[in-house]
């Protein structure tokens, strides 16, 4: 049914990057996330799986406070990145989001040139000292997102003119360009064809070397292929969290087993 997780997926580092405790999220009266505790490791790909509406995207958006932009949304409990509470009033959500990059479900390049799309974050945060500096940042971000060779001759063409898979890699490059420490991906391949998906997955695996990557996915094969840790959400609860190999081969919870074998979903 799914690829057996490879042995080399297991990593030695166990530094905790993000830790959430007693996290609750409410949309108005709806209790969307119920008491979630999770420790996400650095330089690891963590996959959130679960049926639609189970709260995995909501929880992901808590990690960079994107839920702040929704009026009726309330977050309780504490979420720490590098030991610092990100919901502390002293924390500037804008700076937090620079540190925690995000890639969305649908590719959403800005209606600007490819170059300006990538340079957007670095310009806002003043990461480049000079024009040539910025050129370097753009080039290395595009290289890391494995799209440089395809776009290097048309950096001034609009980003919206690229194909879907290229657009999504452009968005990943855009997120990478601000030098985040954590990269959140909300179903990054759901709008892509299998070839583009393979490219993005390969890319995620490479990004793991520098970042803590959290990916929400509906595809269990994808979770098995790219992640080292997997968390299974169901009806707003974090049901099970552990090494990907273990979740997929030897789930401890009945609900997890039902889901990965396709009985609930």
């Amino acid at each position: 049914m799914y690829d057996t997780p490879k042995v080399e997926n297991d990593v030695a580092t166990t530094d905790i990057k993000i830790s959430a405790h007693g996290c609750q999220v409410y949309y108005g009266d709806t209790h969307a996330i119920k008491d979630v505790d999770i420790d996400i490791e650095d330089t690891t790909v963590t996959a959130f799986i679960g049926p639609s509406g189970c709260g995995k995207s909501t929880f992901l958006r808590c990690l960079n406070r994107m839920n702040d932009t929704i009026d009726v949304c309330r977050v309780e409990g504490d979420i720490k990145i590098d030991g610092e509470d990100i919901y502390d009033p002293k924390v500037d959500p804008v700076q937090l989001r620079a540190k925690v990059g995000m890639v969305f479900q649908k590719p959403n390049p800005f209606p600007k040139s490819i170059y300006d799309n990538i340079a957007y974050g670095p310009r806002i945060h003043g990461l480049a000292k000079s024009k040539s500096d910025l050129d370097d940042i753009v080039e290395s971000a595009l290289r890391r997102a494995a799209i440089w060779d395809e776009v290097k001759d048309r950096l001034l063409a609009p980003g919206t003119g690229l194909s879907g898979g290229q657009q999504q890699r452009l968005c990943i490059a855009r997120a990478v360009a601000t030098e985040p420490e954590v990269l959140l991906m909300d179903e990054p391949c759901s709008a892509l064809d299998p070839i583009a998906t393979a490219q993005v997955e390969e890319l995620i695996d490479e990004l793991r070397g520098q970042y803590s990557v959290v990916i929400v996915t509906h595809s269990m094969q994808q979770a098995a292929r790219v992640s080292q840790k997997t968390a299974f959400f169901h009806l707003g609860n974090l049901v099970e969290y552990g090494d990907t190999g273990q979740i997929f081969t030897n789930p401890q919870d009945q609900r997890t087993e039902s889901y990965i074998t396709g009985r609930i979903g």
Partner: protein, 487 residues
């Protein structure tokens, strides 16, 4: 038969047709509507339409064409010498019509017998007096030719009306019979109704377009007439506007155009920043409660009649500006009516126009754009400035150009706020006037309609029309060209 009765009869036939058609269709299917091709109401509607549409169509065309035909026939039979020198043929015919109406009235009121009205002779009776007693005022004594023409007019009208009644009833009857006979369970009534609805919609669209063309043509003919009397280069290049109905007037459009542009520019300088910022606040920053309250409040401004804005300019803004820039203050303003007064008030008038359109356009920018920008650590204002506004720009430019054509066409605020003096000046505190305000002043009053001083209004209107049309086309072009920048 009066037209009202005719319409009522046709309507009754149509309603009856609906019920009969529906019943016949149901009967042909043995009472089971599932055996019908269409729903029973479609069969009814089909009969109604076939009864109503041809009959009403004939009625409308007949009512439009008959007076023209009768006019033409009678007018051609009246000898030229019967029309006195002081009268044109048009005036003669309007006298004829009025007497004919008066005779009709006399017959219905019972003041005259039917035969008397047909045979009465101007040589023996004072028609003017007798009709005057019935409340029909005539400008002069009725001559025999006029009376005879009027009587012929009446005869032809009543014959025409009888024919019309017959034709309309026949059309309704034929339509009814044909459609009723065609009704049966295999008749595709639904498709017929669908087709009729399509033509109805096409008809509505055509009316709108034809009206525009009609307005344009009425302007064009008068404008051509004007340029026959007054040289075009003096009109377009003249620097002086001083119409005098005694003759020898200078009708240069440039001072008026300058006034129009100056006031519009000031208005846009007020309206665009305020309107745009209000729109950004409403769509990007305001909570939904504030928005649901503030948006209608701003749009209330759009509901105020422009004459009220004019009063506001005259009574409030003008004196206020006088206090600062007038003789007591800086001393560059002579009177309360000035370009600045009108421009400021017109700007306020345009705020809801700009803000409402821009708000819609900004809201149309996909949320994913904002998420992408915020997710990269941009603040809200950075997101607005660098992502939302560039994405919405074509639409906003379109909104501004539409506001500009509103400003150019505005009249009442100018009349009350900017004064009536046509002059070329750079000082925004001078009184100036615009094209629209001058159109009003040239056409009101007792001016001879054939003089260049009155006809110039049409040339002004035409110029204005071309300018605003150009702006609108340009706005549409901009909007369309850049629309698909985001999905």
């Amino acid at each position: 038969m009066p037209v009202l009765w005719l319409v009522l009869i046709v309507l009754v036939m149509a309603v009856a047709g609906y019920m009969l058609g529906r019943a016949r269709a149901l009967k042909s299917a043995g009472g089971d509507s599932r055996d019908l091709h269409s729903l029973p109401s479609y069969y009814g509607a089909n009969v109604t339409i076939m009864t109503l549409v041809p009959a009403v169509g004939i009625l409308i065309v007949w009512l439009l064409v008959q007076p023209i035909l009768i006019d033409r026939t009678i007018s051609s039979t009246v000898p030229a010498e019967a029309i006195s020198d002081s009268m044109t043929r048009g005036l003669f015919m309007s006298d004829v019509r009025r007497i004919a109406d008066g005779l009709d009235l006399a017959v219905t009121e019972g003041a005259m017998g039917r035969d008397e009205a047909d045979n009465i002779r101007a040589e023996f009776t004072d028609i003017r007096d007798r009709l005057g007693n019935l409340g029909v005022a005539l400008g002069s004594d009725v001559g025999p030719e006029v009376l005879r023409a009027a009587q012929r007019y009446r005869t032809m009208s009543s014959a025409g009306n009888l024919l019309m009644t017959l034709a309309v009833l026949a059309a309704a009857g034929v339509g009814f019979t044909i459609s009723y006979m065609a009704t049966g369970k295999n008749f595709r009534a639904r498709n017929v109704v669908e087709k009729v609805i399509r033509y109805l919609l096409i008809f509505a669209a055509t009316i709108a377009i034809l009206t525009t063309i009609g307005i344009l043509l009425s302007l064009v003919f008068n404008t051509i007439e004007f340029f026959r009397l007054y040289p075009a280069e003096d009109f377009f290049l003249g620097l002086t506007w001083s119409p005098s109905f005694g003759g020898g007037s200078e009708l240069g459009i440039l001072p008026l155009l300058w006034g129009t542009l100056y006031i519009s520019i000031i208005a846009l300088l007020v309206a665009v920043p305020i309107g745009l910022f209000a729109a950004i606040f409403l769509s990007e920053y305001a909570s939904s409660t504030v928005r649901s309250f503030a948006k209608p409040m701003i749009e209330v401004l759009a509901g105020i009649p422009t004459i009220v804005y004019g009063l506001f300019a005259l009574l409030t803004v003008g004196p206020l500006l006088m206090r600062v820039f007038g003789d007591d203050g800086i001393g560059i303003m002579q009177a309360g009516t000035a370009v600045m007064t009108a421009g400021l008030v017109m700007g306020i008038m345009l705020i809801p126009f700009v803000s409402s359109l821009s708000d819609d356009i900004i809201n149309a920018v996909p949320q994913s754009m904002r998420d992408g920008s915020l997710g990269l650590g941009a603040t809200r204002s950075e997101t607005v400035k660098q992502v939302v506004l560039p994405a919405a720009l074509p639409g906003i430019v379109g909104a501004i150009l539409l506001a500009a054509s509103r400003a150019i066409g505005e009249t009442m605020i100018v009349v009350l706020g900017a004064g009536a003096a046509a002059r070329l000046s750079m000082n925004p505190f001078d009184a100036m006037t615009t094209v629209t305000a001058k159109i009003v002043s040239q056409l009101t009053g007792d001016a001879d309609f054939a003089s260049p001083e009155a006809l110039v209004a049409f040339a002004l209107g035409m110029t204005l029309f071309v300018i605003t049309l150009g702006l609108n086309v340009f706005a549409l072009y901009i909007v369309r060209k850049y629309r698909e920048q985001y999905e």
